[in-house]
Symmetry: D2
Subunit: 277 residues, 4 copies
């Protein structure tokens, strides 16, 4: 006879069965959505549609073909994504690490699925604007003040999401990239403020997570260096934080499950904020 491991009174299951609300933090993947030109363009098509052929029993199946980069739509950066002076996180030789065409160490397959505490720092709301300006650097003081205003605490292992409001421009397409305007976000100081608090991962509602200077492109990414290379903190980009911000949900269960792509530098993801209903 089969014996189940007794889970009677599983606290988590009881909480879920008590009712939960799920807030989707991911962007829909659509052909033509804004994305960095540095990455292969997301494309989806249907090789087989209903009506193409019919099995003798009357059934038919339609299917898909996808071609894409991994740093498209809402996505997570694996530690293998960025190196500095030839080194990855932990001092790994960056060139050697890619030999064979897979980042066997520090690839996206090494990121554990996340089911952990998440915190929203709604900087735009705290600063009283809908959208921070392109190129605005969110300072450590901004982060500190927002946290304080929200009256939540930040604990080691948390995932911190920073709302600049820039996500409202996603629907505009190219302007979301901020090529000429720049994009708001933290800089090196903000990154250090976060890693000092020993967060597990960070995210934002912008294409590159950190501040981009007007006209500057992706030429300097100091926060990526601090987070991915020095401290081993994952970065989630192009989040949709509008609903979370509007509902003032500042503390939640953060769920993020990267695709388990062997040796890749990132993955499209669809993170969730989950709270008891």
């Amino acid at each position: 006879m089969t014996t189940s491991r007794q889970r009677t009174g599983d606290t988590l299951l009881a909480a879920v069965e008590g009712g939960v609300t799920t807030i989707d933090l991911g962007r829909q993947l659509r052909v033509g959505m804004p994305q960095s030109p540095n990455h292969p363009q997301f494309w989806h098509t249907l090789p087989r549609r209903h009506g193409d052929m019919l099995r003798p029993d009357g059934g038919s199946a339609a299917n898909d073909m996808i071609s894409t980069g991994t740093h498209v739509g809402t996505h997570i950066d694996a530690l293998a994504h960025v190196s500095h002076d030839g080194k990855l996180f932990g001092g790994l030789d960056a060139q050697e690490a890619g030999r064979g065409g897979k980042y066997v160490e520090l690839g996206v397959h090494t990121i554990e699925p996340m089911v952990r505490r998440g915190i929203l720092l709604d900087v735009a709301r705290h600063l009283g604007v809908d959208v921070l300006e392109g190129g605005y650097e969110i300072t450590a003081a901004d982060l500190e003040a927002t946290l304080s205003a929200e009256a939540v605490d930040l604990r080691p292992g948390d995932v911190v999401l920073i709302r600049s409001g820039w996500g409202r421009r996603f629907a505009e397409g190219a302007p979301y990239l901020g090529t000429t305007t720049g994009v708001p976000g933290i800089g090196e100081a903000g990154a250090r403020w976060l890693t000092d608090r020993r967060v597990h991962a960070v995210g934002a509602d912008t294409i590159a997570f950190e501040r981009l200077a007007p006209g500057g492109g992706h030429s300097l990414l100091p926060a990526h260096r601090v987070l991915l290379v020095e401290q081993g903190v994952y970065i989630v980009e192009a989040l949709d934080l509008e609903q979370l911000g509007e509902q003032r949900v500042h503390e939640f269960v953060f769920v993020l499950v990267p695709l388990n792509i062997y040796g890749a530098t990132g993955s499209p993801v669809r993170p969730l904020a989950v709270v008891s209903a």
Copy 2:
């Protein structure tokens, strides 16, 4: 000043902070893994590697390119995937539904992320074998008996995962497809047993979820018809249920977040079983 919506005492968050164990039910996405030849092959490569170029500040970024079907690796079937006699679930005209190259209705983007009760029916264990034979049809009586032996109940809205043990053959490659041997799984009767219980989604550790006859290929898929076309129940395929089975975790929080691909018929997924630690 910012006011957070009070979440003090959020039951779910408390349960997560009390500690959870996450069991990964997804297969790793690797070039060369077994997959149905009906779908574009999964391929991953690195267009840019560290060592290719260095920014003036010493930084470099590596990235990925993916080409793939959506019914590869562990994946979910959207209702748009299968039609019968020219109709999709709800009686939608199947050919019309695909006009424009997107399944606007019933595409994978219409599947809500799942955070709900999951049940493992470990049929192989109940029948006292490591792996059910190719072509074996898991009967309604098998499902009933397994459920009873596991002493769990099945409730409307649950996700039911059926373990045949066939997942152990994933590592063998082509034999996992069962082209000549057939593959074990439920048939039409098993599908009706499940839909009578008003489950939300079902899954198995095989390539096509349901029984494939030896040498028969995918020519007849009655369980797909019952589930996707008649009853609107999602199907998850190529799950890795070995750890779940071994640890006899028969009841759990099931987490599945499909990629939000507009108009697609399916998505690779990495489902989780989560329990309090």
Copy 3:
């Protein structure tokens, strides 16, 4: 014993052995080159590079992965590419023709490789400019006058290439598309002038062969209708005609070999103009 079909004195082979000059009319396929956003972006990457692994004998092989539309770079339109009022060339039902996901009739695989007489109509030179203005419509009179000035005749079955000079802008990237400026080219009248002369195929140094109005995009393409739908004349786009124009080679052997892609609507090509040295 083997007997060869006697080819002694093969005129063509003798002409080739006498020496030929080949002028390349195709654009190099590069990631980031200008292309229509209506088509999947050209992308090339190396999954395997030398240095990734070494066979025991010291050998290694590098390889490629390509994702692309077919109407990218220099390319040819098959007759299946365009329909009008639901009909393809010859009155074929356009929707039915694509059933199964392949254009079995009129797909690019039905275009015979071309080794035939080619004529350059260097309209820009004849009109005394380097580059015709965006939106300029090359008239039938322009074509007639250019032909006359070049003192060549036009014969049924010829391939006619029209130089607007706009190809000089290919290197500029986005401006080559002419989204705001429009693009010079023939209109419906020019197309009729060409088909009245029973040409086999036509080409130009622009993205869409025919005139695009400033700001008008690809909303109206009358020359495509006349050529592809009404008369069954192939169109070659994004040619590099600069060298041909500069050297005043107005009559040549035109060689074009489309990829034999079963059921596709077009193919990237690399046409040649070949003349005796």
Copy 4:
């Protein structure tokens, strides 16, 4: 006034206008065709079909998406494809050559389009068989005897195509790869016989051009080393030589135009044999 460079009496054009016969030496590119599993699978699909949308004027355009390796179907190997002991042709450091993700030197974009003399060595016919056996090594003596029997001469700069008859198995699918049976072809000695005669390029009707031992896979490829690495001779694979063999056309104008893919290691091609009609 425009002055054409006088081409009156262009010998090549006259020969073409005198009438030519074109024999297609390329395989049709189809989803599911046999190809080496070492390369990304060829896949073609139609993102947009007629019937998906209609422009206000009644027009519509269908288009394609391709994902593929370059060493699929009939294809040419660039010199960058193979290295030995870390060196490419000319002693280039093989790992350095790929830095940046493009083979800037020796990539397929460096192969000049070919319009030159071609010779068919129909070894199968000379040896009196339809198809040489899997694993049979075509010797230098076989090449010499075939050439002699065909009563053609071989000149520096020629392209030599070797017919083993194995191409008849292309339609069978997987057996064409010869995984268990091996594949007929030349070995190191045959390669030296060819390079001693200073040929420009070589080709065969098999997947890997040279002999593959039964069960041996692609573990040793000495002819590739001699041709690509030591002597800089291009290799064309998976040719369709059946029509050429049947018609006993042993001497012809060989036309091959690789796609001009910047930095790639190969290209699908559709070579032609052209003779005066």
